[in-house]
């Protein structure tokens, strides 16, 4: 069985810290929203803010890392194999077909992952950050002409922030589940922890036809 080093040390640190912060902020955020009482509002609001600043700090490092290492290219969307991957998750996974995508160091995410993560990075995250900072600095914002001109109020800001939080929650549910879909349920998670991914076949470029053929054989 081949092993391939996919996730670098910083990447893993960034991923897991971010994961912990996001889960914690979903928990505290929905408490601030008023969905339930867990830590107490004051504690929740306080910790949510601290976690937000921590995540912003982490993100500054992560952005720096993405650009200096060229890892940002991992998120360039590709149309290639999208349908094959979709087909795998809807049919092949039940029939024992192999995954049509094989991770390499240059291309560690399958086409669906690329799309999903890009959407998180370019849409959900910015939405959370912008609305969150506006939420935090609402008083300063309200004192400017921007608020008066746009009719922006705290209710609208909170609405956007909450909507973005729901999107993040939904992403998280899907992401957590899909992390169990490696060749063993814990394979992807292990890889994300150690950096090394087990691969059951030698690395080679695989065509959709090959995958289909193997799927057909298995069924």
């Amino acid at each position: 069985m081949a092993r391939i080093y996919i996730f670098k040390r910083f990447e893993r640190f960034w991923h897991w810290t971010q994961a912990a912060l996001i889960i914690f902020m979903l928990l505290t955020g929905f408490e601030i929203h008023g969905s339930y009482a867990l830590l107490g509002w004051e504690q929740a609001a306080d910790l949510h803010t601290t976690a937000a600043w921590t995540l912003i700090g982490l993100w500054l490092f992560a952005i720096f890392w993405h650009f200096t290492t060229g890892e940002w290219k991992q998120y360039i969307p590709t149309g290639k194999n999208v349908f094959a991957v979709m087909n795998y998750y809807s049919v092949g996974i039940f029939t024992g077909a192999p995954h049509p995508f094989r991770a390499t160091q240059l291309s560690k995410h399958n086409p669906l992952q690329r799309l999903a993560y890009l959407m998180v990075k370019l849409f959900i995250n910015p939405l959370i950050w912008v609305s969150g900072l506006a939420y935090l600095y609402y008083n300063e914002l309200a004192a400017t002409k921007i608020a008066a001109m746009t009719g922006l109020n705290l209710g609208t800001i909170a609405l956007v922030h909450t909507a973005a939080a729901f999107m993040m929650l939904i992403f998280l549910i899907g992401h957590l589940y899909l992390s169990t879909t490696g060749h063993t349920p814990l394979a992807h998670i292990k890889a994300m922890i150690t950096g090394w991914e087990d691969q059951d076949e030698p690395v080679r470029e695989r065509s959709t036809e090959g995958a289909r053929a193997k799927a057909a054989r298995a069924s």
Binding site: L154, A158, I173
Partner: protein, 533 residues
């Protein structure tokens, strides 16, 4: 020898240092407080038979004092607000004792004058100004009810024939001990508004005479020990901070020496400024919407004295079969019914009501049309809205009551309550007679019929400021059904009624469907893998 000189110098310098810091013995303390010792004034070394005699002497030195008093609300009992309404005890009708009019002998013991027994009182008289009620430091000064603010210098039976003897006071001693007004001076009237201790305001009662820190962080007798005038910074006898001229929102900075201010010096901001929270800066983001008092006065009537929350005059007049007026007390021994006044609801540690307040208060005046309906008539009404840029969320006491009105002319009425005459309600328990006398005294029409009307009045809560540790915590308002549940026009994180229902429904629904979807998917994988084994 050298050591001896050194020691002597050291001792001398220590003595000098202690002299410079000085002032720990009572005599020096007294000396440094005032340039005048009133006991040494020849004019005060005599007996006085009446209050005006003392005033006459005061005015020989303080030549302009009475003229200053004549210009104050404390003297005039009149105030014209920005809307042009004539306010003040002289004309207003409230839903406590209603009005001093025709009850002057009893009520006007709280006038800063002598002898206002009816509408013939001379408001231009200088000797009728009562200096002592505000400047007595002995605590022995008394203005007994029924004597129109006059004092008693020789033991007298009052009311005549009652066997009740009023002890005289020593005006000589009192006049020689005058000083700055203390909480006791102001409190002698303001703690007892509405006819008894704590009755009216809820945030002012006799417990503030010597409060601890928990009750009032500023007036804390063993701490900051503020007098009323520390905030109500009086100049020329004009006391700022009247509720007739409230400052709902003070956008100014803390007042510093050397600058001139025209704004109300009584506000919290006039000392604390706009960003008083140093440890938790986020709290400063509240000061543009929430009055300081809203969080820093968690409850009122906290000092062990109950305040009246409602007063139902319509049940007054119940007598025992033998004709004696009925009185009821609650389990704690507090009076909750008297024949003279009707039923009361008392409250202690009361959570205020909260509303948007912009400083404008509109009153229902004598002669204004009132209508009996499901909605109580508003004796006064705090105006304000979330969007007017002038309002803050204020804590208030809402006083509810039922009081006499004229159902034909549809006006509030002046009832003649106190007096030893045939028409006073407290003597004969007849509303029609009492109101006829009251309305005649102001030349107002009266149909002869009396009915009772539900009324409501609003009182700002601004005293009994608790120490920071006892201020409200976030979740008091950042919650559903919290203290600000009914305050409209503002988004409060944590208050469910502010949520966009569609977003929460859609958000949770999609999240749940996603979860179901992945669980189903996972179940499928489990089943398939078992089958393949």
């Amino acid at each position: 020898m050298r050591i001896g000189i050194f020691m002597a110098a050291l001792t001398a310098s220590m003595l000098l240092v202690s002299a410079a810091h000085a002032a720990s013995d009572p005599a020096t303390d007294k000396l440094l407080k005032s340039t005048s010792d009133h006991t040494k004034f020849k004019a005060l070394q005599r007996d006085f038979d009446s209050g005006p005699e003392v005033t006459k002497v005061c005015l020989t030195c303080h030549t302009e004092a009475a003229k200053q008093i004549h210009k104050t609300q404390h003297w005039k009992w009149e105030y014209r607000n920005a809307q042009g309404q004539l306010l003040g005890k002289k004309t207003l009708i409230n839903n406590f004792c209603t009005t001093p009019v025709t009850n002057e002998a009893a009520c006007n013991i709280c006038h800063v004058g002598y002898g206002w027994k009816d509408d013939t009182f001379d408001f231009t008289s200088e000797v009728n100004v009562d200096c002592l009620v505000c400047h007595d430091t002995t605590g022995n000064y008394r203005k007994p009810a029924g004597l129109a603010g006059n004092v008693v210098t020789k033991a007298m039976e009052f009311p005549p024939g009652s066997g009740n003897i009023i002890k005289p006071i020593d005006l000589k001693k009192i006049s020689q001990a005058v000083g700055k007004s203390s909480r006791d001076n102001c409190g002698a009237c303001h703690f007892y508004g509405g006819g008894g201790d704590g009755v009216k305001h809820g945030d002012m009662d006799s417990s503030l005479a010597s409060p601890d820190k928990e009750l009032d962080v500023h007036m804390d007798a063993l701490g900051l020990n503020f007098a009323c005038a520390t905030c109500h910074m009086t100049q020329g006898h004009q006391v700022p901070g009247s509720r007739y001229a409230p400052t709902a929102q003070d956008k100014g900075d803390a007042h510093v020496r050397g600058k001139e201010y025209t704004t109300n010096p009584t506000t919290c901001q006039s000392c604390h400024g706009q960003a008083p929270h140093k440890k938790i800066a986020k709290l400063n983001d509240h000061t543009d919407k929430v009055a300081c008092q809203a969080c820093h006065i968690p409850t009122y009537a906290r000092g062990g004295v109950a305040t009246k929350m409602s007063w139902d005059w319509s049940t007054a007049g119940k007598l025992w079969p033998e004709g004696k007026p009925l009185t009821k007390k609650d389990a704690k021994g507090r009076v909750i019914y008297t024949a003279a006044k009707g039923d009361f609801v008392l409250g202690e540690h009361v959570v205020p009501d909260y509303l948007w307040f912009n400083g404008k208060v509109t009153y229902t005046l004598r002669g204004d049309k009132v209508e009996k309906s499901d909605q109580p008539t508003r004796i006064n009404h705090f105006e304000g809205s979330p969007g007017d840029g002038k309002s803050l969320i204020w804590p208030v006491k809402t006083m509810r009551g039922k009081q006499a009105y004229d159902p034909v002319n549809k006006t509030l009425v002046v009832p003649h309550l106190a007096g030893n005459d045939d028409t006073a309600y407290w003597t004969n328990f007849n509303w029609e007679k009492a109101v006829a006398t009251g309305m005649a005294s102001i030349g107002a029409p009266f149909s002869g019929k009396v009915d009772f009307l539900s009324t409501e009045s609003t009182w700002p809560i601004t005293h009994m400021v608790a120490p920071a540790k006892d201020a409200l915590r976030c979740n008091a308002c950042h919650a559903s059904n919290g203290r600000l549940e009914k305050v409209p026009g503002i988004y409060i994180p944590g208050r469910a009624s502010d949520h966009a229902g569609w977003l929460d429904t859609a958000g949770w629904a999609i999240a749940a469907l996603t979860l179901l979807g992945v669980l189903g998917h996972g179940l499928g994988r489990v089943i398939v893998s078992k089958r393949n084994k």
